[in-house]
Amino acid sequence: MSNIQNRNADMYLTQDLLKRKRARNELIRRLKSAGITLASLTVLFVFLLPLVYGVVGSLKSDNQISSPRAPLVIPSSQRKYTYKGKEYDILKVPTNDGIKEWAIVEKSPDYSMFIDPKNPEAGEIKWEGKWITLDNVWYTDFKWINYVDAWNKIRFERLLFNTAMYAILSTFGAVMSAAIVAYGFARFRFKQKGFLFMIVMATIILPPAVTLIPTYFVFFKIGWINTWLPLIIPAYFANGYNIFLLRQFYLGIPREMDEAAKIDGAGPIKTFLLVILPQALPALTAVTLFHFFFCWNDFFGPLIYLISARDLHPIQVGLTQFNQLYTQKTNWIMSASITSSVIPLVIFFFAQKFFMQGVVITGVEK
């Protein structure tokens, strides 16, 4: 009897121990999880801080970016006081009664006249000292108007139109041609296919500089410099990266689907249009996005081909020139930079699934 009781007690004890152990493990796991997530949050915070800097910088007032003693982080403006119809700076004035915030109405090297905005009836107060050593009074002020000013100065709608035209016209050709060529490589047997595909791959890693000069020379001779043609036309002849990505995807489409279409009497073109293309929609979307953003971010091409056609410049080149013109106006430069990032970021957030799949297809499946 006692033996059984003992055993029961033992069992309870073990179960209890086990339970406690499990609870402890679970706690450790949760702590670890919280730790890792917190560490990642910190890294992410630091990683994205420049973006915050950009936004904050874009909202600063002109005074703030030009005065050396202005607040460094929070967008601010100088406090002013209107006295007898004129606007005066409010300064921090040290007096016997502590620091006063007074508006300076008359500046002289050794003394200045001030007005106390809280008590303007008291009239002008004379203060002995160098006003130049006094700090301004700042208040938090977000200058959203910078976005409008920068937009108008850089003529953003024109840059946007140019970039969109270049990206759309070139992406259309790139996706269409690569879709066709990849079909040829994925579904047909012919001599030298392996060799030709190796060349396709080689063109991916070929530094563009090596073909650039003769190409540029020809474009120059036929009058294509300062037009969009050199940026758009070559895209219609399928580039290696897109061919590779689409071919990888086509290879994953079951051949039975082709065969079924063939039995129904579909030729190669019909099979391509009715079987392959609909199946490859995710990959086609990825290629479209990649190429679109490649154009959106292309810099070297527009820089050399649109060398003196300022009205045709896309965003990246326009932004660079804007920076050269208004180096000191960092608030404008930041607002222009942030504005030019908005469209890619919005598209990215909506299409990120295709985007990330596409990246993975190119790199891992190889």
Partner: protein, 322 residues
């Protein structure tokens, strides 16, 4: 007798089919063939010709054949900028590629951790800056690195008490000893693609391997070094190859920051900047072609080196074909 005829028939039909298939294949790839000839093969051949010409777009009448003059100038020390710019880009690459890849791997390992909460959101947000146009990225970072008003120096000064701000402070953009670090840090915003690829690789490593290692008493570091890295070495190899070729063409950041002047002290005068200046500022197309070929040959040599040593350090789960 009857039977043999049928076999020949089948064979003939098969041959026809093969021909038919080959013809369609060639039709489909024909846009690429035309493009390859027009934009790759002919220009490459012509490019060799260009290297032997004195050809200036500003004054095409002066064009003449000068043999190997351009090559001589580039290779025998007539143009010291060539060697200088190659050394610069190599030094920058040796710093920036390992740091960039290390950071990508670090993020990928974090995102792959089972313990991480909200993985997908983290992944999206770490990828996000990759989408910002590089010119905007560069301008924003230039502000962050500003010696007087930038947040990095503000942080160093107020948190660590270092006298970081001002002329005698930490001059991220003007100090030749720091400039490659500055550029490297800016480059981290482009880590997205590498992170995704490495992450996809990590997710494919069989968990049994880790379990077996744990049974054998291997700690986290040993698992990383002996399982994770070898298993994802093909992806590291792929990224390294693209990285090496990409960095040879590093141009936009120095162009925006200093217009290609090489500031500070010529440190950022890279080979692609030299190419751009010769070919598209001075329009020396002949000499520019020589620089282009030098870029090509270096990229070729490095790719060759990578592929040549791949079987020593890249692990292919399915065995190597070579």
């Amino acid at each position: 007798m009857n039977q043999s005829i049928t076999i020949t028939d089948v064979k003939l039909k098969h041959l026809d089919l093969a021909k038919h298939e080959a013809r369609w294949g060639l039709i489909f790839i024909s846009p690429w063939i035309v493009g390859f000839l027009l934009f790759y093969l002919f220009p490459m051949i012509a490019s060799i010709g260009f290297t032997m010409m004195n050809i200036n777009l500003g004054n095409t009448e002066e064009t003449r054949f000068i043999g190997i003059e351009n090559w001589k100038r580039a290779l025998t020390g007539g143009d010291t900028k060539i060697l200088e710019s190659i050394i610069n880009i190599s030094r920058f690459a040796l710093l920036s590629l390992p740091i960039g890849m290390g950071f990508g791997l670090f993020l990928a390992i974090l995102m792959n951790s089972k313990l991480m909460i909200g993985k997908e959101l983290f992944r999206t947000l770490f990828y996000m800056p990759t989408m910002i146009p590089l010119a905007a990225t560069t301008l924003i970072w230039t502000g962050v690195f500003n010696e007087y008003t930038g947040w990095i120096n503000l942080f160093l000064q107020n948190v660590f008490g270092v006298k970081a701000m001002g002329v005698n402070g930490v001059r991220w953009l003007a100090d030749p000893n720091l400039i490659y670090y500055t550029y490297t840090i800016m480059g981290l915003w482009g880590v997205g693609n590498m992170m995704l690829l490495l992450l996809a690789g990590l997710q494919k490593v069989p968990t049994e391997l880790y379990e077996a290692a744990r049974v054998d008493g291997a700690g986290w570091w040993r698992q990383l070094w002996h399982i994770t890295i070898p298993m994802i070495s093909p992806i590291i190899f792929y990224n390294l190859t693209l990285g090496v070729i990409g960095i040879m063409q590093y141009f936009l950041v120095p162009y925006i920051l200093n217009g290609g002047s090489g500031y500070p002290e010529g440190m950022t005068y890279f080979i692609m900047v030299h190419f751009y200046k010769q070919a598209f500022t001075y329009f020396n197309m002949g000499y520019g072609a020589v620089i282009a070929w030098i870029i090509f040959l270096i990229a070729l040599a490095l790719t060759g080196l990578l592929f040549g040593t791949a079987n020593k350090w890249v692990y292919y789960a399915g065995g190597t074909d070579k």
